[in-house]
């Protein structure tokens, strides 16, 4: 008995002439990720990707876990490969489903006949295979409306495939099909979720983080690196930029009015991020802001920060509640890391009463009291880069 994995496309299937570009990026991603866990051959045919283990030790469950996190895949099926011969389909499926069917109460059979030359029609396949399985497993009853197990038979070009489980894929577009963007990664709950959401639309993510030793600790940085590593599950390889930010923060504190600390800091962060984005060929910035969450995320504050931006800033969480964001962060498994208790640079020198509705002219005036440009230049030069691989 041979078991392989079939992957069905989601949105890619709708891409007219560009479809093959998306397909090949996705297959490249799949091959790259699977390389880590064993030898698999990955091929495509009839809008389906076939993943076949080349060695016996290549672990299909492990492969499924990896595939679940690759964008572009709508659903994942572990299937048993049968000859295009009804008696073989019966024999193989009863053997293949031996771990499931004896313990289920109800089931149904569905058939998809992509190869119309197969002598039996779909309803006939369902009927006869259903009857065969009923006889083999007397514990079963047919329930077409709400079955515990749905056995699916797919008749395709070269073989027939049987499976009883359809696993939902990550959806979206393959990472790398929509260009690069730079994510401002603080270490909190929101920014990894923002990165995940843009990666889902096919954007390849780089990340930027600001450190202010001794106000922030080595552990805070390690935590962010841990987040990056975790994010590679969905986002692929991530270039991580770590910007030394102490001098700038001290300069803000010494030279600007307290109520503008945070907003000026955000503007300078954006400035630095754009310079790094340019170097790293990123076409946009991504932040985890959500309207009204904190003082720097009010509409007026966001427009003050945006005033320094020359490239688009994506804020995929802008209309989401914290609970919705937390839910995704749990799903992508960054929540536990994000909630580790280390201080990040955003909370250093936080004003007691930040301006909630700052006017751009006031902010610009406040920031003009000191020439930050040389410090910004230096911070960009001293930025360290590290790549996190899947």
């Amino acid at each position: 008995m041979k078991e392989i994995i079939l992957l069905k496309y989601g949105e890619i299937a709708l891409k007219g002439l560009n479809k093959s570009t998306f397909e090949s990026i996705m297959i490249k991603n799949i091959k790259y990720r699977l390389k880590k866990i064993g030898k698999f051959s990955v091929t495509k045919a009839q809008s389906t990707v076939y993943v076949e283990p080349d060695e016996e030790i290549s672990d299909l469950s492990e492969a499924v876990d990896v595939l679940k996190k690759i964008f572009g895949i709508a659903s994942i099926c572990r299937v048993c490969v049968c000859k295009k011969d009804f008696s073989d389909i019966c024999r193989q499926s009863s053997e293949y489903l031996e771990d499931i069917l004896p313990y289920a109460k109800t089931f149904k059979v569905t058939a998809k006949r992509a190869d119309k030359s197969f002598p039996m029609k779909s309803p006939e396949i369902c009927n006869q295979l259903g009857g065969f399985l009923l006889e083999k497993f007397p514990n079963l009853q047919v329930d077409v409306k709400n079955p515990e197990v749905t056995v699916t038979v797919e008749i395709r070009d070269t073989n027939a495939y049987v499976h009883a489980e359809n696993i939902k894929g990550a959806g979206g577009l393959p990472v790398g099909s929509s260009g690069n963007a730079l994510l401002l990664l603080s270490g909190g709950i929101d920014s990894p979720v923002a990165g995940y959401m843009m990666a889902k639309r096919g954007i390849h993510i780089s990340a930027i983080h600001y450190v202010s030793p001794p106000y922030t600790s080595e552990r805070a940085r390690l935590k962010v690196e841990q987040l990056c590593e975790k994010m590679t599950d969905y986002c692929g390889n991530i270039a991580f930029f770590c910007v030394p930010f102490t001098e700038i923060q001290e300069a803000i504190k010494d030279n600007c009015p307290e109520e503008y600390f945070t907003i000026i800091m955000r503007r300078i962060m954006m400035e630095i991020a754009q310079k790094i984005a340019e170097k790293d060929e990123c076409l946009a910035l991504i932040t985890g802001e959500s309207v009204g969450q904190v003082a720097s995320q009010t509409l007026s504050a966001i427009s003050c920060t945006d005033a320094v931006c020359r490239i688009p800033v994506f804020r995929p969480l802008i209309g989401m509640d914290k609970t919705e964001i937390v839910e995704i962060s749990r799903k992508i498994d960054t929540f536990d890391i994000s909630t580790l208790p280390y201080e990040d640079c955003c909370t250093v020198f936080t004003p007691k009463h930040p301006k909630v509705r700052p006017a751009l002219s006031d902010v610009e005036k406040a920031q003009a009291q000191f020439d930050f440009e040389p410090l910004i230049q230096k911070a960009v030069e001293d930025t360290e880069m590290k790549i996190f691989y899947v």
């Binding site: 672990d59 600790s217 552990r219």
Partner: protein
Amino acid sequence: MSIYFDNASTTKPCKEAIEAVNRGLSELWGNPSSLHSMGVKAQLAVDESRKIIADSIGCESRCIYFTSGATESSNMALKGSAMAYGKRKRRIVTSSVEHSSVKESINELEKSGFEVVRISPDKNGIFNPDDFINAIDENTCLVSVMLVNNETGYILPVKKVFSVIKRRFTDVVTHCDCVQGFMKIPVKVRELNADLISLSGHKIHSAKGVGALYIKKGIRLLPIINGGKQENGIRSGTESVPLIMGFGASVKALSPHIEEHYRYVSELKKYLCSRLSELDYISVNSKSDASPYIVNISVSGIRSEIMLHWLESHEIYVSSGSACSKGAKSGVLDEFGLSQRLADSALRISLDFSNTKEEIDKFVDVLKEGQQKILKSK
């Protein structure tokens, strides 16, 4: 040269482990919980080992919790999960041939009011997966089945049992003592369907005093050791950085060779059995499909201890039963259907990839000589 055939009791630390322990003691002696860089360095070393062990069983780093050894791992797993999940569901299912660390933990739980079902093998010493599956009911909170029996090498049908249980009773917690399987046969959490897995360091060429517990994400254990909330609050107490580093180092050294070692040791077992078949009054109690690392034999008419000491006088080290029981009878061999006579004369030869056919030749010669001598003097 002495011959060490007691590798299921403990193993000789490998040079990678010794070097790592040494480095942990001499260089990375900071407290992993300290905020300063010495602490961070120690923590990173611990996390590196955690990652190595996690990779070796196919799980995420943070599912691995370090303990003082497999006995502690199993105590934590069983008592911790029974306390967390056993408030209303009061049944525990286990096998009758578990290692004492599991057996005694479950005995304790039984005393505190849990109903315990112990599944025995059939009269041929074979476990039927359905016996376990049928013993599980709505009232069951926990099932614990070992992967490889430590006295006979018998491989229990854990995969089959757990996969069916997980499908039918999704909220039953599954625990597997993998001590004698880890680094010897492939142990992957996903295949085993285990929520909790006990591992030991010193059975795989690390130091004594370190082990690990795999806890599946989402499984909640009440800690049995309370304190500074190390290891995510599950196992308080400052981590033993050097021993943990040693543990990681030996897993790293062994992992790539599991199959190769398995093939080699299988050859050794085959050779041992064929050499033993030349002798009279010897029976091999281990099944042919058991783990090749453990070969249980009986030397008819000679009590285990006498033969053990005879072999020892020729610098050949074997064990009479499970070394944990210090020679006391564990009853496990009876469970496997061995007659009293065979159980009383049982020896456990536990092999390692460092053993050789020449050692087996010498062992068989000395055994034969001893057999003749002891039987004659009777």
